[in-house]
Symmetry: C3
């Protein structure tokens, strides 16, 4: 099976690809907000827009999500993040999910989300 790599970061040290497609699955890198807004809810909107963009670059979309991991810098943001998440997912096509609290790459990052999705 071939491997397709999307969105290598040529502008920086190539720490990672934004997405890798293999065996009918698109694996996205864990996303934090590129220009983090001040609140977790706003960052969640930013992250989900980034995910929509990368899914589109892969040739798939959020209706085909398989798995999600949601990392909270502070679990007190749980309800605010979930409200944005709930409005974004496609009813009847919702992925599995794992959620926990973890310190993220910078202090400004309040949320990180990693997903995988099936290809059409």
């Amino acid at each position: 099976m071939t491997i397709q790599r999307i969105g290598l970061r040529p502008e920086k040290s190539p720490l990672y690809n934004k997405a890798v497609i293999h065996g009918g699955v698109a694996y996205l890198a864990g996303q934090v907000a590129v220009n983090p807004a001040p609140t977790a809810a706003e960052q969640t909107r930013q992250i989900l827009a980034q995910i929509d963009d990368y899914l589109s670059q892969c040739g798939t979309d959020k209706s085909r999500l398989l798995t999600a991991t949601v990392l909270f810098a502070d679990m007190r943001d749980y309800a605010a993040v979930n409200e944005v998440w709930d409005a974004w997912v496609v009813p009847g096509s919702i992925p599995t999910r794992t959620a926990f609290e973890a310190k993220l790459v910078t202090q400004h990052n309040l949320v990180a989300i990693q997903v995988s999705a099936a290809m059409p």
Copy 2:
């Protein structure tokens, strides 16, 4: 490849599915004990029973586990959780595993376990 979704939580906001099947793999949501017992060992038994149930709903079982992630709210529970885990896994059919400490969704949740399993 088709996507099959198991155990959507209709009683609540549909944050996630309990399991998604795609490409011969069943991905389960990270499980915490639904009615958390007071100790990590007891919660591990509760979680593993939930996982057995969801694997069964997917049409597979613990002898076909591929991967596991075990999250400890307090790493001091490591030995107690592992003892329950060791008694549950099928010798010769054990998944890969990643373990770390993370604060979970509520203070009452001492352990969370996420697995994937091959379909028969």
Copy 3:
């Protein structure tokens, strides 16, 4: 699809396999340094050597990596770990990645890395 399990730890309680192969994907257990060196950079070198070894036992290699998760016991080691990581990955064949801070199994473990790779 068959399941192939690599590197079961017969010397210890069989908590996990080091790698499981299924559906053209090799899933490796999260690796910490077996004999942890004093610095995160050195531990990263040790871990990446362990990963090379397990990928080889699976019959694949780092040029076919799909995903990586990098756990830092202390996010202040981010740059030092990334420098070793950057020198190890194969340009143009870099996996997706998710990174966060988490307390690991022992205080001596400063880094843990989990990867999946495509089989040839």
